[in-house]
Amino acid sequence: MTIEIKMPAFRGDEKSILCAWSVDEGDTVDVGDILFEAECDKVTSPCLADVKMKITSILADEGDEIAPGTTVALAEAVN
């Protein structure tokens, strides 16, 4: 099953900057691992994995300004 990793909403529909990826394509991450870190209006926040998954495709670059709900990466669930 493909998992779409999305930019969360920090402050309404305000865009966030994807500042740093903590994973690469091909990485397998556990629940609670940091996927990426974002900044919105001087608030920094990590985006964490909520299931165990393997990252298959990274769709956004560091420094991109991204609207909440936009898919930034794809992953496959891992048992």
């Binding site: 920090f10 740093a20 900044e39 608030v43 920094t44 990590p46 670059d61």
Partner: protein, 308 residues
């Protein structure tokens, strides 16, 4: 509200204490007031080499610390009072007003006509007296801000707000603004210690409780400060990729290390090949250039263009 007392004047330690408290204080509201020795404090995702003149900062002798929250570069000294709140993230939304309103109320009790502006700063007469930023992890948020009570404004303007235009990156940029100190706006003059005591009482309110860090907490914060906030890897190595274009130098860097360097001028081009792989650090660059037998004049120009 609960308060944790922090008399430590080491900015890296206090920023490590913020990280510790965000991770360990899992419920309720808590605040901490603290000051730091003269220092330049950069936002988590900023490019240090772009935001300041590293040579000027080095010459001034102030410390450099990368914090965990967002936003731009600020200057601290003992005339600046920092306030940090730890709280639950109400309804998943992140609000500045929630934390800034009590600060504004406090300042107004002292006759200071403070307002919250559109960048989440506090201003008096349109000039900034407080910059604010947050970190949110899970259901908790840490909000911190500066209060320019009686800061050396000459040092502040010399060391911050001078972005280097020859550098290009996708880092978070500072937003320099005119600033003023709070002290001249007070109805009745007070010292910085009196200001801190009054702020503590105001924020604490009728259920004010205070505590100090335990020896175990101090040991853990010491560890975080040493292993993270005082390291080159965190402070400079976290810099994102950037390019620099100056009269004699074109370079590309990531993580504070020079990946490629060249020049249209042959003599500079030869010299610059010796700094590829070096950290962007005056001593390291000078050492590499001296070992390669580079002419002193060229060495000085290269260092001034990369770090000046």
């Amino acid at each position: 509200m609960n308060e944790i007392k922090n008399p430590v004047l080491d900015p890296a330690w206090s920023i490590a204490a913020e990280e510790y408290l965000l991770e360990h204080e899992k419920s309720g509201e808590l605040f901490m007031l603290w000051r730091g020795r003269p220092s330049v404090i950069i936002g988590k995702f900023q490019n240090y080499f772009e935001e300041v003149s590293p040579l000027l900062v080095e010459k001034s002798g102030v410390e450099v610390v990368r914090r965990n929250s967002g936003g731009g570069t600020v200057y601290h000294d003992l005339g600046n009072v920092n306030f940090t709140f730890f709280a639950d993230r109400a309804d998943g939304e992140l609000s500045y007003e929630r934390f800034l309103t009590p600060i504004v109320d406090f300042l107004r009790t002292l006759g200071v006509d403070a307002e919250i502006d559109s960048t989440s700063a506090l201003t008096v007469g349109g000039k900034k007296i407080s910059g604010n930023a947050q970190t949110a992890v899970g259901g908790r948020v840490m909000h911190h801000g500066t209060l320019l009570f009686d800061v050396e404004l000459g040092a502040l303007s010399a060391l911050t707000g001078n972005a280097r235009e020859k550098i290009t990156s996708r880092s978070i940029k500072s937003n320099p603004s005119p600033v003023t100190n709070i002290r001249p706006h007070l109805e009745h003059d007070m010292t910085v210690d009196e200001f801190i005591d009054a702020l503590s009482a105001h924020l604490g309110g009728k259920d004010h409780t205070t505590r100090r860090f335990s020896p175990d907490e101090i040991a853990e914060i010491d560890r975080i400060a040493s292993e993270k906030y005082r390291t080159w890897q965190w402070t400079y190595g976290k810099c994102p990729s950037f390019t620099l274009e100056s009269e004699h130098v074109t370079l590309r860097s990531k993580g504070g290390v020079i990946l490629e360097a060249s020049s249209r001028d042959d003599a500079y081009n030869v010299a610059l090949q010796h700094v590829v792989g070096c950290r962007i650090d005056e001593r390291e660059l000078r050492s590499a250039l001296e070992k390669s037998g580079t002419d002193d004049g060229i060495t000085t120009k290269i260092i001034n263009e990369i770090l000046g």
